[in-house]
């Protein structure tokens, strides 16, 4: 092998090693950026507008397989559907806290709550809520039960609830719980009754 070839080979080897290092650097940078974004989206802050009020949340526990009643101060807007949204965001925020008894996916959020006919609420969640939700019959049922029961507790006239994902109907939450149907607050309360 002549000297120029050796030099050329060495130079290419250096370039290849450099490219490899750069690719690894990019990969770790993307991973840390994703982690930072996920942490940012975990912090769901209820709307600042409106007076603060004590609201009742029905918080799920995977270990107990039931719902626990707890109270929290939330800034509540005047408008009824915005108020419902603020309460549900507070509930999802509790599930995304470290050490939650019923963890759900980072970035889960309620995009909107639509109230129809006085007794019906349609909750529009974001894609992360369903895509990153833990899969399991009980885990999914507890999430739905806690949302429906919390909504009904804050506004007893809401007795029927349907959940959308990104504005669309979806078959199941994470492979198990039916999202095509309307939930009756009295029916889903069976989870509460039977497991407490």
């Amino acid at each position: 092998m002549t000297r120029p070839i050796v030099w050329m080979f060495a130079a290419l080897l250096l370039i290849a090693a450099g490219l490899g290092f750069y690719a690894y650097h990019l990969k770790t940078k993307v991973a840390s950026e994703e982690q930072r974004l996920a942490q940012q989206s975990q912090a769901i802050v209820p709307p600042a507008s409106g007076p603060t009020a004590l609201v009742t949340l029905y918080v799920a526990s995977d270990q107990d397989g039931g719902l626990r009643r707890s109270q929290i101060n939330v800034a509540l807007p005047q408008e009824r559907s915005e108020r419902a949204r603020a309460i549900l965001r507070a509930l999802l925020g509790a599930y995304m806290q470290p050490g939650s008894q019923h963890p759900i996916g980072a970035g889960s959020d309620v995009r909107d709550v639509f109230l129809m006919g006085g007794d019906t609420a349609v909750i529009d969640t974001n894609a992360a809520f369903a895509d990153a939700h833990p899969s399991g019959v009980l885990a999914e049922e507890l999430t739905i039960a806690s949302m429906v029961t919390t909504l009904n507790a804050s506004d007893p006239s809401i007795t029927r609830v349907k959940i959308l994902v990104d504005g669309k109907e979806r078959d199941t939450l994470a492979g198990h719980a039916d999202l095509r149907r309307f939930y009756q607050a009295s029916g889903i309360g069976q989870v509460l009754k039977d497991s407490q």
Partner: protein, 487 residues
């Protein structure tokens, strides 16, 4: 000469550069993306206790089979991959525990402490251990101490003394009849076309001593037996359309000429015998029509739909399939007929599950799930209001379960009692679970979580055995309260 060397140097360097960059790119890609090889096909396994299929994987240019998937229906299995090492504990029914030891990339290992050499290397993919298909016969015969017959090209494996030998007997006459006889009843799919009638045996371990028979007969001219893709086929050829009649309780198929189509006439004719299969259609023979008690077990998820991740290497779909097979065995040992919605790693949509379940007309439907959170066993009935609708009426698809909620609750309560008797933590709940709402028969779903809070314990054979026994005993206890169903 100097000029030539200078010209040659950049050319060689360019080649080297391409090789280096391509090699670097391959290395980088390999470090981030795991190569996925599409499944080759499947292996049909016939054993005295059960029939099942196992997916085959194409590795190193040859078919491989998952060791745990192969052994699971034949006994208790506990597989523990540990880096490149793979250990599997196997307890065949009524025998002692034994251990398989292999290492990723090596072609030697141990079975029951004895050294074995595989025809090709052992492979670990996604935490599952794979052995070459050609080694299965030796591994199983060592493990089960019984005769194993493998037909690698046909993808069929016979465990023990299992096998249905068919015999052919042509009785000449007008018309001639070919008697195809078996040791026990068979239920093949039948397809006809002009000059052919073809029987496809998917579940039966049908074998033939000869591949081809020729007959000097004006109607039936030959019979060809073939095995491929995990099935056996018998093709009878003739000079005119053929039809099949079942006799001797399904142990004999009589092939003869199909009658000519009736001339158009207003005179009423007697219906043909029930067991006659008309030509020019593909349909299975009619099943016995008496009411029966069949439990349909539905292991949730499958294929690309893995369900919940119990651990990084253990998806829900695998845990529930193992549990389903155990429940099936437990039910059968109590004299209850039990079928599986899936007996392999295949994807079935929720609507397909409901349609198949309703078409199978079981007396009871049991869906099985596993979760990586919570503790113990949860038994679910459908979260629907009980409606005063007769189960004989047409039922709305979304609420087809409503008329059966009371019976479903009885089964759930009985299973819960059996779990309680075995000191397994459990709760009974109503759940908005698909496809249970669409099932038009008593239905429960059972979701298992770790008994201790440690998710690794969920797949322990002792725990799964205990849950399977509870489910089967719970069903057996209320069998008299659940109506049998006419298929």
């Amino acid at each position: 000469m100097r000029w030539l060397r200078l010209r040659a140097a950049p050319f060689s360097a360019t080649l080297l550069a391409i090789a280096l960059l391509s090699g670097t790119a391959r290395l980088l890609r390999h470090s981030t993306v795991q190569a996925q090889t599409p499944p080759a096909t499947q292996l049909s396994v016939y054993s005295p206790q059960t029939f099942y299929t196992v997916p085959l994987l194409n590795l190193n240019g040859q078919p491989y089979v998952g060791l745990a998937e192969l052994l699971e229906p034949l006994g208790g299995v506990e597989a523990r991959p540990d880096g490149k090492k793979y250990k599997l504990k196997f307890t065949p029914s009524g025998a002692h525990e034994m251990e398989f030891q292999f290492q990723d990339g090596k072609d030697n290992g141990k079975v029951k402490g004895d050294k074995v050499k595989l025809p090709s290397i052992f492979a670990i993919q996604d935490g599952r251990g794979y052995v070459p298909l050609s080694s299965v016969s030796e591994l199983l015969s060592r493990a089960l101490s019984t005769q194993i017959r493998l037909s690698p090209s046909a993808r069929r494996l016979f465990v023990g003394n299992v096998g249905e030998r068919l015999t052919l007997d042509l009785r000449k006459g007008t018309p001639s009849k070919l008697f195809v006889s078996f040791d026990s009843p068979v239920n093949p799919t039948i397809a006809t076309e002009p000059g052919h009638i073809r029987f496809t045996f998917r579940r039966e371990p049908v074998m033939s001593p000869v591949d081809h028979e020729s007959y000097a007969d004006p109607l039936i001219t030959g019979a060809n037996f073939s095995e491929h893709d995990g099935i056996a086929e018998l093709d009878i050829t003739g000079t005119s359309p053929l039809m099949a009649n079942f006799a001797d309780g399904g142990k004999t198929i009589i092939v003869t000429g199909a009658p000519p189509p009736p001339p158009p006439t207003p005179v009423a004719q007697a219906p043909p015998p029930e067991t006659t299969v008309p030509p020019a259609t593909a349909q299975p023979p009619k099943a016995p029509s008496g009411p029966r008690f069949l439990v349909l077990i539905d292991p949730a998820h499958g294929g690309t739909e893995v369900g919940s991740a119990i651990s990084p290497t253990l998806p829900e779909k695998d845990v529930v399939l193992t549990l389903a097979r155990k429940v099936q065995r437990e039910l059968q040992s109590r004299g209850i007929a039990a079928g599986l919605m899936r007996n392999a790693d295949i994807a079935i949509t929720l609507d397909q599950r409901a349609i198949s379940a309703n078409a199978a007309r079981p007396a009871l439907y049991v869906a099985l799930h596993a979760a990586n959170s919570g503790r113990g066993v949860h038994i679910f009935t459908s979260l629907l209001p009980a409606e005063m609708v007769s189960s004989r009426d047409f039922l709305p698809w979304e609420t087809a379960q409503s008329p059966y909620l009371d019976l479903s609750g009885i089964v759930a309560g009985s299973v819960s009692s059996e779990l309680e008797a075995r000191k397994l933590p459990n709760a009974t709940l109503a759940a908005p679970l698909r496809p249970m709402n669409n099932i038009a028969t008593p239905a429960i779903a059972v979701e298992i979580a770790s008994p201790t809070g440690n998710v690794d314990d969920i797949a322990s054979p002792a725990y799964l055995d205990s849950v399977a026994q509870s489910i089967a005993a719970g069903i057996a206890a209320v069998r008299g309260k659940i109506p049998e169903v006419r298929p």
